[in-house]
């Protein structure tokens, strides 16, 4: 026993003084190293362990409750199991680190823990709370229960003195000598965290104190013994648990629920082991003794069965282990349905397992929400019953074939469960913690997160065939490598009527592949069209889909592919907007399980043959669904410029300028990489050199094979660039401009192009795009790089930007694109009436996310106005 004298804390003034001392000690202790702390933790646990017997005797002597021999186990457990559980746990400074991810976690103490100690476990709970506080470099102030203050304080002193001897600051632990509610409340309100164990009153006080509280609530553990259970194990486990410290562990069984089929057998086993079944008259007597006005008679708490029987005027053998009352009502009008904190047990007869679940749920609802429930069954055979039990019980601990007193506190009958003397009950029990309380609840966790760049990838079709005349060679694969048998060709009427599919049909025939042609795709393809194609696919069952055409047939074919492979999909889901394609909410269905997809472009622009995008319009609502996922990427692209030789001037110009917009936006995107940069620059250089020739050839109808081939390659390269770096505000605004005013997509991009360049190039934008790689507004420099790559020279980036804009304007003019929206939409009023809606929709377009400058809606509106009149105003 401790001989040292300490200042007595018996009033508020003394408490304030002592609390200040503990706080000062904690400030010093907070600087201790893990090694120093672990030494103190070991010394404190060892001292507590050594004092287990005298402390147990003292507790029983002072409180008049419980069993010395069992309290020895509790003390021993609180010292040894807690030490063992946390001996190697890092609680000081850096506790984990991932250097490559730039992620580090540090543990710091909370400060001073206010620890309220109950009468039922007055020494073991004190030991437990002090040990976990010491391990976490916290100070701790103990508020004992007046009924158990001597033993609680003795345990506290023993642990404190051992800790101090091992190097802890002198005043790291404090306590109240003469407890009063006022002092407890003061302590709670002045601490940094409250570890409240005890009845609902104390827990409520803790939660009302204004300080973070880890409180736990009352239990009312039901134990179901299923007819598949090992009755011998079940009954004796329950007896073992219920008699432990005369039933004072809050997780202890309060009721046994037994199905009719084994009721007598269970009863006989209880009797055989020295339990006493009360007759109806005796049951009434015990009821009256046990519960007073719905509350538990304090005098029976922690008493032996014999003593309680004596108080009730019932004669039982002195060696009686448990008093059992056979009762029927499970709500709290039945005294036996309450928590009894003594070796008294209710026994219910259930019709079957489901009825047993009803009884158990009722018992928990009325007195043990969130605490503990217990079931005995054959866990291998009766998995369904166990699942049903687990589902029904609103308890944070569900114990199987385990004495619940021992099982609930953990590490005794299951070695994964955290050992603890403080058992969280979750929100069901009004708690902030739903598990067994441990050191992690007494730490402030600092997370150090260093800036890292986002992972990116580069994805393209597994094969891209190039060079004029490559088509038949590419299709050869279907017979030689791929071994396909049924091909479905998707194209538009013009291409079909003009014989563009012939070459494909001949090749397929030659390869012995059956095929079907669908040629009903119109510009801005609709869902109805895609459904029709998919319906034909369903009957034809192709194993390869061949899309031939410009953007529309390729997009329509992609959607047919989706509908054919996954008829269950919802377009709303697939079109859901996302910030990062790798983190999107919607998981796109797996494609390619039924058919291989080949895309053969007949124009040089959309890039759809190498992109994961497709746009489809719901003809009923007019809504456009822009779908994006790498699952939509064609398996093979065939870029054969022989198919593009006869493209008319307007198409050549619109698709050519579309490719320019793809390359410009991919290059400026926050997700641009070295891979996409290379493709974008090469595409731009090629287009600026060859698009005028291709256009001229379209006008003059004199073939220009080289220019056409170069343009085909450039469009596909630009496609690969934006398939991976994505687009920006140029496309966001062009999408809506095209949709609202029926302007071809490429032209719409051309009309927004230079305005967006100026907008993105701003060195001090209102807001910049969010992406780790995009560390400062740098798009002006990026555009200057493009200008240089296109052979421009300038004194600075601003001049280069102006030269780039001039160059673009010259190109547009050269290929017959007019300068302003008003040239295409002369009705100014019509344009203005759609402006706000266009603005909002453009802002919300999927493409906005990758733009280097995050636009305000007012800014987009101004962009539109500038582009409309062809007059630049600052945005």
């Amino acid at each position: 026993m401790s001989e040292k004298k300490y200042p007595v804390v018996d009033r508020l003034e003394a408490l304030k003084k002592r609390l200040k001392a503990v706080r000062e000690a904690q400030a010093i202790y907070a600087e201790y190293s893990q090694e120093e702390v672990d030494k103190i933790f070991l010394a404190a646990a060892t001292a507590a362990n050594q004092a287990r017997l005298p402390l147990a005797k003292l507790a029983v002597e002072e409180t008049g409750m419980g069993v010395v021999e069992d309290k020895v186990i509790k003390n021993n457990y609180a010292a040894e199991y807690i030490y063992n559980a946390y001996r190697n746990t890092k609680t000081c400074g850096v506790i984990s680190e991932d250097k490559s991810a730039g992620y580090k976690v540090l543990a710091e103490p909370l400060g001073v823990v206010a620890a309220v100690i109950p009468t039922t476990n007055p020494t073991s709970t004190a030991i437990f709370k002090i040990l976990i506080s010491l391990k976490t470099r916290n100070g701790v102030f103990i508020s004992p229960h007046p009924r158990a203050r001597k033993c609680t304080i003795e345990a506290t002193k023993i642990v404190l003195e051992a800790a101090v001897a091992a190097g802890a600051p002198e005043n790291i632990v404090g306590w109240i000598d003469i407890p009063s509610l006022d002092m407890t409340h003061y302590l709670m309100s002045e601490s940094d965290v409250i570890l409240a164990t005890g009845g609902p009153g104390m827990v409520k006080a803790a939660y009302s104190s204004g300080k973070p509280a880890i409180g736990v609530g009352p239990g009312n553990t039901p134990a179901i013994i299923d007819d598949s259970a090992d009755i011998l194990l079940a009954v004796n486990s329950i007896i073992h648990s219920k008699t432990f410290d005369n039933g004072m562990i809050c997780a202890s069984e309060q009721s046994v629920i037994v199905p009719e089929s084994i009721y007598d057998e269970v009863k006989a086993e209880f009797k055989r082991r020295g339990c006493y079944f009360l007759d109806p008259e005796e049951t009434d007597k015990v009821r009256e003794t046990m519960i007073i006005n719905g509350s538990l008679n304090a005098r029976i708490v922690g008493q032996s069965a014999y003593k309680i029987a004596e108080m009730a005027g019932v004669e039982v053998p002195a060696s009686t282990k448990i008093l059992l009352g056979e009762v029927e009502i499970a709500d709290d009008s039945e005294a036996f349905a309450h928590e009894k904190l003594s070796p008294v047990l209710a026994m219910y007869k259930a019709k079957d397992f489901s009825h047993a679940l009803d009884i158990a749920s009722q018992l928990i609802a009325d007195g043990g929400m969130g605490h503990t429930s217990s079931v005995y069954l054959n866990e291998r055979r009766e998995k369904e019953k166990l699942n049903a039990f687990t589902e029904r019980m609103k308890t944070c601990r569900i114990l199987v074939n385990t004495p619940s007193s021992h099982g609930g506190i953990g590490d005794l009958y299951n070695f994964k469960m955290t050992p603890s003397m403080t058992l969280g009950c979750g929100s069901w029990g009004g708690n902030s913690v739903a598990e067994n309380v441990g050191v992690k609840h007494l730490l402030n966790i600092k997370t150090v997160a260093e800036r890292r760049e986002n992972m990116l990838w580069f994805r393209a079709p597994e094969k891209t065939y190039i060079k004029p005349g490559c088509l038949p060679f590419a299709l050869d694969e279907l017979g030689t490598v791929n071994k396909r048998e049924r091909a479905f060709v998707v194209t538009d009427e013009f291409l079909y009527k003009n014989g563009y599919t012939k070459q494909i049909e001949e090749k397929l025939t030659e390869l012995g592949i059956r095929y079907q042609v669908f040629s009903e795709v119109a510009p801005d393809p609709t869902l109805a069209c895609a459904r029709k194609g998919a319906e034909q696919m369903k009957h034809f069952e192709p194993d390869v889909i061949i899309a031939l055409g410009g953007g529309s047939p390729m997009d329509a074919a992609k959607i047919m592919w989706v509908l054919y492979e996954h008829p269950e999909v919802d377009f709303m889901d697939m079109a859901m907007r996302f910030m990062d394609i790798r983190k999107r909410v919607y998981t796109f269905p797996k494609m390619g399980e039924k058919a291989y997809f080949i895309a053969i472009p007949t124009t040089s622009g959309t890039g759809s043959e190498v992109t994961p995008f497709a746009v489809i319009t719901d003809e009923k609502t007019g809504v456009k669904y822009p779908l994006t996922d790498y699952e939509l990427m064609p398996d093979m692209a065939v870029v054969d410029s022989d198919l593009m030789m006869n493209a008319p001037p307007s198409l050549t110009a619109a698709s050519g300028i579309d490719a320019v917009s793809h390359a410009l936006e991919a290059y400026a995107s926050v997700m641009a990489t070295d891979f996409t940069d290379g493709l974008a620059i090469k595409a731009l250089q090629t287009i600026f050199e060859y698009l005028p020739q291709a256009y001229d050839s379209a006008v003059s109808k004199k073939p220009a094979p080289e220019a056409r081939e170069k343009m085909a390659n450039a469009a596909t390269m630009a496609g690969m660039a934006f398939a991976n770096a994505f687009l920006g505000v140029m496309h966001s605004t062009a999408h809506k401009l095209g949709a609202f005013h029926h302007i071809p997509h490429g032209i719409a991009n051309a009309l927004m192009m230079t305005e967006v360049l100026r907008f993105n190039a701003k060195e001090a934008p209102t807001k910049m795009g969010t992406f780790p790689q995009y560390d400062h507004p740098k798009t002006l420099a990026r555009y200057a790089e493009i200008a240089r790559a296109l052979g421009e020279e300038g004194a600075d980036d601003e001049e280069l930007l102006e030269k780039l804009i001039a160059k673009i304007n010259r190109l547009k003019e050269r290929i017959g694109i007019k300068p302003a929206i008003k040239d295409y939409v002369p009705d100014e009023e019509a344009f203005m009436s759609t402006l706000d809606e266009m603005t909002e929709q453009a802002f919300d377009d999927q493409c906005t996310g990758a733009n280097p400058r995050y636009p305000l809606m007012s800014e987009i509106k101004q962009l539109y106005l500038n582009a409309y009149y062809g007059e630049h105003k600052e945005v």
């Binding site: 109950p118 509610l181 009845g199 609902p200 409520k204 009352p218 006005n293 509350s295 009008s333």
Partner: protein, 255 residues
């Protein structure tokens, strides 16, 4: 000048320790002896005046005066019989009277008077004054602190002897010396206890059932106040109640 000599024994309606109540025409005079402090009497008059101002049917306070050395409160005389008397006279109507009794109490609970003493404060003081050991008082205070603080008018001694039914069948509630504002369940717990102390546990059970039914209150919610009201009652130091109240107080919180 009013003097005590004016009154004869016929005019005494009620006599209890330290207090005599006289009938004086249409009024009654409650005359206190020296064991009461001035503030006790003024406070009682003030509390009753506050209740009167809520519009509840209570005797009006007419004056607070000093008769010789004695403080006195004059209020309306309410003709009629107490509910207690009526219950005794017509046992067959006991259930009906009890129902009316509960209705009257619920009517009181529907009123608020912001300046009345606070029930929980009063209970806190009473627990401190009680003779229970430190542990029990600590338990009681802990329990009390966790109970709800409401603002309903609580009579504080609501029992059938404090209700007068006039010949016109109007009910007046008298004796407002213990009134506070607080949780209705506390007042119900008190009434339940008063029935027990009056030797009518059967009426206590019926009362509680009726109260809980009519107010849609869970029985346990009322029961939580029972150790508290018992501890408060114990400060009256009535030897015959001691054992009963101790049993009610000596309960443990569930863990």
């Amino acid at each position: 000048m009013v003097t005590l000599k004016q009154f004869n024994e016929d005019q005494v309606i009620y006599r209890t320790e330290g207090k005599v109540i006289y009938r004086d025409g249409d009024t009654i005079l409650k005359v206190f002896d020296e064991s009461f402090t001035k503030s006790d009497i003024l406070n009682e008059a003030l509390n009753q005046a506050r209740v009167e101002e809520t519009g509840l049917k209570v005797p009006r306070i007419l004056e607070v005066l000093k008769i010789e050395d004695h403080w006195a409160i004059r209020s309306d005389f309410i003709p009629g019989k107490t509910l207690e008397t009526l219950m005794k006279e017509s046992p067959e109507k006991e259930d009906a009277y009890l129902e009316r009794f509960v209705d009257i109490q619920i009517e009181i609970f529907s009123h608020e008077a912001a300046l009345l003493n606070v029930l929980k404060e009063k209970m806190r003081r009473r627990i401190d004054q009680s003779s229970f050991d430190a542990t029990t008082r600590y338990e009681l205070q802990t329990r009390l602190a966790a109970l709800p603080t409401h603002k309903k008018i609580c009579h504080g001694d609501f029992n059938p002897s404090n209700i007068i039914i006039t010949p016109e069948d109007e009910a007046y509630v008298i004796d407002w010396s213990h009134v506070t504002q607080g949780n209705a369940s506390a007042d119900a717990a008190l009434t339940y206890m008063l029935f027990h102390l009056a030797g009518r546990p059967d009426l206590a059970q019926k009362y509680l059932k009726l109260f809980c039914l009519k107010t849609d209150t869970a029985r346990q919610y009322v029961q939580r106040w029972m150790p508290i009201v018992a501890a408060s009652q114990s400060t009256k130091n009535k030897p015959e109640e001691r054992e009963f109240l101790h049993r009610w107080v000596d309960v443990a919180d569930y863990q």
